[in-house]
C-alpha cells in the first residue's frame, strides 16, 4: 500500500491492476518455466529411454532362445520403453527389393507387406511438418497417422513405430527421435548377428565334437579292419618268400596267393567305402537316373549274393511288386545301396535264417523297398547308432562281426540323394528290416520283371 494519506479509490484500483498484471506475468513466466523444465526433462528422458532400451534389449541375448524369437521380444522392449501404440520389424523381400515383408508386428494386424521403391534411411510424420510421400504406405501399414521409420540398407531391415495421436503421452515425433529408432534397429540387428553367431558357434562346436567322435571311432574301427587283411598280406607274402626246406609247394602257393588276393580285395572295398562316405558327406552324389523295373533291380541285387548265402546256409527270397512298377533311380547307386543292406543282413543272420528283399507300391503312390532278415536284431537303444559311421552294433556275447560300419551310413546318404527315406525297424531276436521309401514322383506303373535293364 502506498504511503501518505488514504489512497483514493482510483489509486487503489490502479494498484490492484498493477498487482494483478504482475501476478499474471509472474504466473505466466512460472508456467513457461515449468514447460521448459518439462521439455528439458523429456529430452533427458529420451536419452534415458535409449539407454534403457539398449540395456534391456541386450538382456535378451542372455536368454537361451532361437534367433526367431528375438524380434517379438525386441518389439516388446521397444513398446515398453518408447511407449508407442504399434510397431513392426520389416525385412526387404529378396525377390523384390522394393517390397518389405513384415516379420514381426505389435499392436497392428494390418497388411504384412510394404511397398517402398526408394526407402529412406529415416522418416517421421508430425502434425506440424509437411506430409512426406514415402510416409503414406507406412501410415497405411500401421493404420496410424504418426510414424517413425529407420532403415538399414546393409541388412535390409527396417523398424517402424506408430502412434495414433501425438498429444498427451505421445510427443509429436521429431528429428531428435532418430537416435531412438536408429539405435533400436541397430541393437536388433546386432542381437540377431550375435544370436546367430552364438548358434553357429554352438553348432560348430557340436559338429567338431561329432567329428572328433567319428575320428576316434574311425581310428578304433579301422585299426582293426586294416590290420587284419594287412597282416594276412604280409604273413602270406613272407610264407611265399620262404626258401629251402620252408619253400611252399605249388598248392600252398596257390592258397597263399588267394589269401593275399582276398585280403587285397577287402582292403580295396574298405578304402572305397571310406572314400564314398567322405565324398557323400561333403557333396551330394551325382545321380544318373533312369526309369528301371524295380523287380529287375531287386533280382539283380540278390543274384550277386546267391553264392555267399548258399555257402552260409541262408535263404534269400525276392518279392517283386505285382503289377510291375518302374522307379527313377541311379542303377549303380541303388545296387550299392542294396548290396550294403543285403551284405549287412547276411552278416547278422545265422545259418538257417532267411533274408527277404521285396518291393511294393505304397499307399501314397510311392514305392518301398524292404530288406528283412531273421537275424539277431538290434536293441532299441542301439537303433539310432546304427546310422552313425564307424559304428558296429553287435551282440557282445556273440561272435565279432567284421566291417567298418559304413554300410548303413553310405546307404542312407545315397537314399537321401534320391529324395527317398531310409528307416530301420528291429528288435532283439526278431530280426531287422530296413525300409526305403521312394517318393511318388519317382515311381510309375509298368516295366518288365525278368530282364536286366543294365549292367
Amino acid at each position: 500500500m502506498t504511503d501518505g494519506p488514504n489512497p483514493s479509490f482510483e489509486q487503489l484500483e490502479r494498484e490492484l491492476q498493477y498487482y494483478r498484471r504482475e501476478y499474471n506475468e509472474i504466473g505466466a513466466r512460472l508456467l513457461r518455466a515449468q514447460e521448459e523444465q518439462s521439455r528439458v526433462a523429456r529430452e533427458a528422458r529420451r536419452s534415458r529411454t535409449v539407454a534403457r532400451l539398449v540395456r534391456e534389449a541386450y538382456q535378451i541375448i542372455d536368454q537361451d532362445i532361437p534367433a526367431e524369437t528375438i524380434g517379438p521380444l525386441m518389439l516388446a522392449t521397444i513398446a515398453d520403453t518408447a511407449v508407442c501404440d504399434c510397431a513392426a520389424l520389416l525385412l526387404v523381400d529378396p525377390a523384390a527389393p522394393e517390397r518389405f515383408l513384415v516379420q514381426h508386428a505389435f499392436g497392428t494386424t494390418t497388411p504384412t507387406l510394404l511397398t517402398l521403391p526408394d526407402p529412406p534411411d529415416h522418416l517421421y510424420t508430425a502434425g506440424r511438418t509437411p506430409p512426406v510421400a514415402a510416409a503414406a504406405p507406412m501410415i497405411d501399414l500401421l493404420g496410424v497417422p504418426f510414424i517413425l521409420w529407420a532403415y538399414d540398407p546393409a541388412t535390409g531391415r527396417a523398424l517402424l513405430l506408430g502412434n495414433r495421436t501425438e498429444s498427451n503421452i505421445h510427443r509429436a515425433f521429431e528429428a531428435g527421435d532418430r537416435e531412438l529408432v536408429d539405435v533400436s534397429l541397430a541393437v536388433y540387428n546386432d542381437l540377431l548377428v550375435r544370436k546367430r553367431a552364438e548358434i553357429a558357434l554352438r553348432e560348430a562346436k557340436q559338429a567338431a565334437e561329432d567329428a572328433n567322435a567319428v575320428r576316434a571311432r574311425f581310428l578304433a574301427t579301422l585299426s582293426h579292419e586294416f590290420r587284419s587283411p594287412l597282416e594276412a598280406v604280409i604273413g602270406f607274402s613272407e610264407l611265399l618268400l620262404q626258401t629251402g626246406r620252408q619253400t611252399p609247394g605249388p598248392e600252398q602257393k596257390d592258397e597263399f596267393a588267394r589269401q593275399i588276393l582276398d585280403s587285397g580285395h577287402r582292403l580295396l572295398a574298405l578304402v572305397k567305402d571310406i572314400l564314398d562316405f567322405s565324398r557323400f558327406n561333403n557333396t551330394v552324389p551325382y545321380l544318373r537316373r533312369d526309369w528301371l523295373s524295380l523287380g529287375v533291380l531287386l533280382r539283380n541285387a540278390v543274384r550277386s549274393f546267391a553264392a555267399e548265402a548258399a555257402s552260409r546256409e541262408i535263404r534269400i527270397d525276392v518279392a517283386v511288386p505285382e503289377p510291375p512298377i518302374e522307379v527313377s533311380i541311379d542303377y549303380e547307386r541303388f545296387r550299392q545301396i542294396l548290396a550294403n543292406l543285403i551284405g549287412n543282413a547276411l552278416k547278422f543272420t545265422p545259418a538257417g535264417g532267411v533274408i527277404t528283399v521285396g518291393g511294393i507300391a505304397s499307399a501314397g503312390d510311392g514305392a518301398s523297398i524292404t530288406v528283412s532278415d531273421t537275424g539277431i536284431g538290434i536293441a532299441p537303444q542301439d537303433l539310432p547308432r546304427t546310422l552313425e559311421p564307424f559304428v558296429q552294433v553287435y551282440d557282445p556275447a556273440g561272435p565279432r562281426v567284421s566291417g567298418a560300419g559304413l554300410g548303413l551310413p553310405i546307404a542312407k546318404q545315397l537314399v537321401e540323394a534320391h529324395n527317398a527315406t531310409l528307416a530301420i525297424r528291429s528288435a532283439p531276436g526278431a530280426g531287422t528290416s530296413v525300409i526305403i521309401t521312394l517318393p511318388a514322383s519317382d515311381v510309375r506303373c509298368g516295366g518288365r520283371q525278368s530282364e536286366p535293364a543294365r549292367g
Binding site: 501476478y23 504466473g27 505466466a28 515449468q34 528422458r45 511407449v83 508430425a126 504418426f146
Partner: protein
Amino acid sequence: MTATISTGYAAGIDVAATVARCREQLPGPADLILAFVGGKHDPEAALAALRASFGDIPLAGGSAAGAIAGGGTGVGTGGFGYSGLEIGIIAFSGPDVTPKILTNRDLLESEEAAGQALGRAVRAQAAPGSAVLILFDSVAASAPLRLHPASRIMAGFHAALDGLPLHVIGGGLLTDINLSDGWMFDGHAIAKHAMTALVFPPGLHAATAILHGCRPVSSFFEITRVEGAEVLELDGQPALTVIERTLGLELGTTSGQQLSLVATLGQKQGDPFAPFDENNYVNRLILQADPARGSITLFEPDFTIGTRVQIMSRDNALMLESVTQGIADLEAGLHGACAFGLYIDCAGRASVMTGAETEEADLVLRTLKPGFPFIGFYSGVEIAPFAGDYSRPLDWTGVLTVFQRTA
C-alpha cells in the same frame, strides 16, 4: 472363513501369460477380483485369461492406461507402468472383505440418470459409512472425443443417496492416456458405457488423501459464457484468447488440438482470498481448444456462468511435495494395520507427460512403503471426498485410499 486380500502385478504382450504370472502371486482362491488391464490388451482375450486363471467368479475393473502395485513379502510383485501392457489384480476372499458389485450400463443414455440408478442400488445395499469404489467407462465417443462426465454421474449418484453418508472414491477407466477408449468388467462380462460400484462390507473403513500438484498462475477470471463443458468466454472475452494472452503461449499446439496439459482451470473453494492451499482447488483439465470458437472444452461440465476460476499450472515439484505431505497426513490419521490400499492416479501425472524427473507413482510406493496389498491404476478422472463434503470428480490428482478393519 478366513478373509484374505492379495495382489498380483505383471506386464507383457501375451495376456494369458501375464494374467498367469499375476495368478501365481496370489495365495489361494478368490471370491472376487478387481483387475486393471492395460489398454493394449484385447478385452475378450483378457476376460478369457482371467476366467482361465480364476474361474467364474465376480469380476470388476476394466481397462487402465497403466497399473501400479505395491510389493514385498507375501503381498505380490510390486511395480508400475503405463505402456498399456500392465495388469494389476487385487483378489478378495471371505465375506468380511469382499465387496458387492452393483452395475449400471446406461451411461450413454444419461450419465446423471445412470448415476441416480446406481446411487439407488447402493443406497439399498450399503450401510452408513461404508466405503464405495465407483469405476466407470470414461470415453463416450472417440470421434469427436467426448467423455462421460463424472460430475453428472456423481450429481445423480449423490441425489439418489438422499443423505446416506458414504466414503465414495472412484476413477474413470481408459485404455490409454490418449483417451482412445475404455471398457469395463461389469461383474461377469465386458461392457461399454457402464459403471460399477463396489460396496465394501461395514467391517472395512476407508481413509483417503488427495494428492495434488497444480498451483494458480493467474488472477481470477469469471466465466461469462459456457455451454456444458465448453467455456466460451472469460470476463466477456473469448476464453482461449484470454488464456493464451495471459500465458504468452498457444494452448493448441499439438495435432488435433486435443488435451492440452499445459494449463488447467481451477476453482478455489471457500474464501477466494485465503492463502494458497492446494486442497482448496478443484481442477479441470482442458480437453480441447477450438481457435475458431475461441473456446476451451473442459473434462467436466460442472463450471457454470459466474464461476470464478484461475488458470492453473501443473507444478512437478509441488506434485512430488504433495505426495510426501499427503501420505504423511494420511498415515498420521491411521491407527492399526491396513487391510489394503488403492491408488487412483491421473494418467497425466506420469512423468512421460509431466517431464518430472521422478515418477510420481514410484514416489508414492517408496514413501508409503505398503506392507499390505496395494493396487492402483492410471485413470482418466478421479473421484474422492472433497473438503469434508460429498465426493467430487477431480482432475490431475492422485486419490490414495487405505482400508482398515473396523475395530
